[in-house]
Symmetry: C2
Subunit: 197 residues, 2 copies
């Protein structure tokens, strides 16, 4: 049983998913395929900007994440820097990591520094520290992440997400059935199990 | 243990809450105080219009409601008419029903007709049929619901909601702690039980 986990480094609620998905995988018999894409590109294209100039809704969002993080045993320092100027680069690095096999470790490391140390993902010192932590050479990875190839691969993934109907991060895809939001992870897992039983 | 259930007839996800809250109350030891308000007034004031001109996100919303409704044993015909031109009147009727003791029955009846028969709440034939179904005289209630007093009472409730930080429907309030969305009902109940233990 497999679920595609579409996400962008830059999404706030995706912190909750990124930090707990390894444990969920162990206890649920479901495998997750991590699929980085550029959610900002999708949201601008669809005129879907949920928090800009909405201070009351934004304040609620941080409080909601704080409460749910506590339930999952996480201890973020909130609010984290937001939005991320380096969103595209952060996800281009993830794209490079897919091929090299360290993508998930990098995503967890960069989210931890972003949400627990207050260092914005997609810029220094977060990038180099996260890459060193997982045993990568920051200079090499940064060079690869800024090639046209990495830019194109992130765009290809983003187009694939949009064609599927993804409009936000995180989204869990079970075939063509989409579940949007960290709070829909259980729904996606139930759907996967029902579909296969 | 008590939770304030802030809602507007006119909110789509509130259908799920309205139809299941009686059962939840029986099984959870928590009492809910139903608080109608005008969510449209709040959302316009806060420039928070989540579905307008967003066809992909709107299509997802209906599919998400359909799947979650099925889990709760509900069988809506979707999409239901949306948005509701008669939102304010629908909630003014609810306000009249608070004093007269039939508010919750009316809200359930009007939502059922809206979501299961395709009759928009806040207009005919939904209004009169819902009121007759619960034993009220539609002419009397409609007259009361269109008085300045009903208009003012709905505005007072809306101001109270906004002062509390409510920005959407449904919202569950446990003291000053807010939980937004039908999908946060469990979080609100857990919070109430933790707070009282």
């Amino acid at each position: 049983m497999k679920i595609d986990f579409w996400f962008s480094i830059g999404s706030t609620y995706s912190y909750l998913t990124v930090m707990r998905l390894g444990e969920v995988e162990k206890t649920s018999d479901v495998k997750f395929k991590w699929r980085p894409f550029n959610v900002r590109h999708v949201m601008i294209e669809q005129n879907n900007i949920p928090f800009k100039d909405k201070p009351i809704k934004s304040a609620y969002m941080w409080r909601d994440i704080e409460r749910r993080a506590a339930r999952f045993g996480l201890t973020p320092k909130l609010p984290a820097p937001y939005p991320l100027p380096g969103l595209a680069l952060a996800n281009q690095i993830a794209i490079v990591g897919v091929e090299d096999g360290w993508m998930e470790d990098y995503v967890r490391a960069t989210y931890r520094r972003w949400f627990e140390n207050g260092e914005a993902a997609g810029e220094e010192p977060n990038i180099s520290a996260s890459l060193k932590e997982i045993g990568c050479d920051p200079r090499e990875v940064l060079a690869a992440a800024q090639t046209q190839r990495a830019v194109d691969e992130l765009q290809t993934a983003t187009d694939e997400a949009m064609n599927l109907g993804v409009f936000g991060s995180p989204t869990f895809a079970v075939g063509h059935e989409l579940f949007w939001g960290d709070d829909r992870l259980d729904d996606a897992i139930h759907w996967t199990k029902d579909a296969s039983s």
